[in-house]
Assembly symmetry: C2
Homo-oligomer: 175 residues x 2
Amino acid sequence: MTTGLLMIYTGPGKGKTCAAFGQAMRAVGQGLRVCLIQFVKNRACGELVSLEKLAATTGLVEIHQVGSGFSWQDREMTRFRESALAGWQLAREKLDAGACDLLILDEFTYLLHFEVLSAAEVLPVFRQRPAAMHLLVTGRNPGEELLAAADLVTEMQEIRHPFKKGVKAQKGVEW
Amino acid sequence: MTTGLLMIYTGPGKGKTCAAFGQAMRAVGQGLRVCLIQFVKNRACGELVSLEKLAATTGLVEIHQVGSGFSWQDREMTRFRESALAGWQLAREKLDAGACDLLILDEFTYLLHFEVLSAAEVLPVFRQRPAAMHLLVTGRNPGEELLAAADLVTEMQEIRHPFKKGVKAQKGVEW
């Protein structure tokens, strides 16, 4: 039995976005078409530079960075809502059209957590996608309904993190 | 404060190797030199195909697959030991020479778990590497001593996995 999976990388630990990009590498290397929609983040990061290179050499990758740069400590929600909803519209189009073999919605869970969207709106769209299409969602606090609907859930637990020893975020490691 | 980090991705959940390859993408995208030594696995996998493409376009990536194909259920340890020790010798050379900015030892923990090497042999070599060099180790059961020495540890917890529902491993998802 093979089937399109709904996969979630969640939890407070480092590695969710890295694992999603690694998953993209794996899929592209097997000839699958990958579409990445990156919510929240909007700055250049190393993994995106590399994914653009893979896109250029393979023609199998589509990248959309729709984030407003909002961080979840922010109070300024209007811009976040607008860009998030535009990203969701784009995701719906990809899902409805079966436009790729693996759709990655990076940091999508914050849309649910901050009630820009409800699980009741999102899950039917997820379920109606083509049967072979894989869907990978990352971010903290996905909520019970999304978790219950997923085929695969990995929770990244933070056992130790260098920030707590005063080491600052480093280029090539954190972004 | 910035410094070379010893990072560990461990735990039973899916995502350890993917996160390591995503970390490689991030580092390469920021211009860092990456060296990957892959223990245990020896078959072609999608992420390796993609990393080879990145290696070719950037000149920043070095890849060594030293695994014997041993799986940790196996009883046939001789070949595993030999290839593992050859891989460790190579890792030592990279560490001593500061041959890259990020050295990834994928599935290295099994060498400790199966007592091919001891933490007492490994940790001094890790500690004597150049101060700015990042080191990322993946695999289950790293053992208390390696965990204690790490700057960053993320444990991938398996909350749900499709194998348990009878879905078989799929190309582009599991390899």
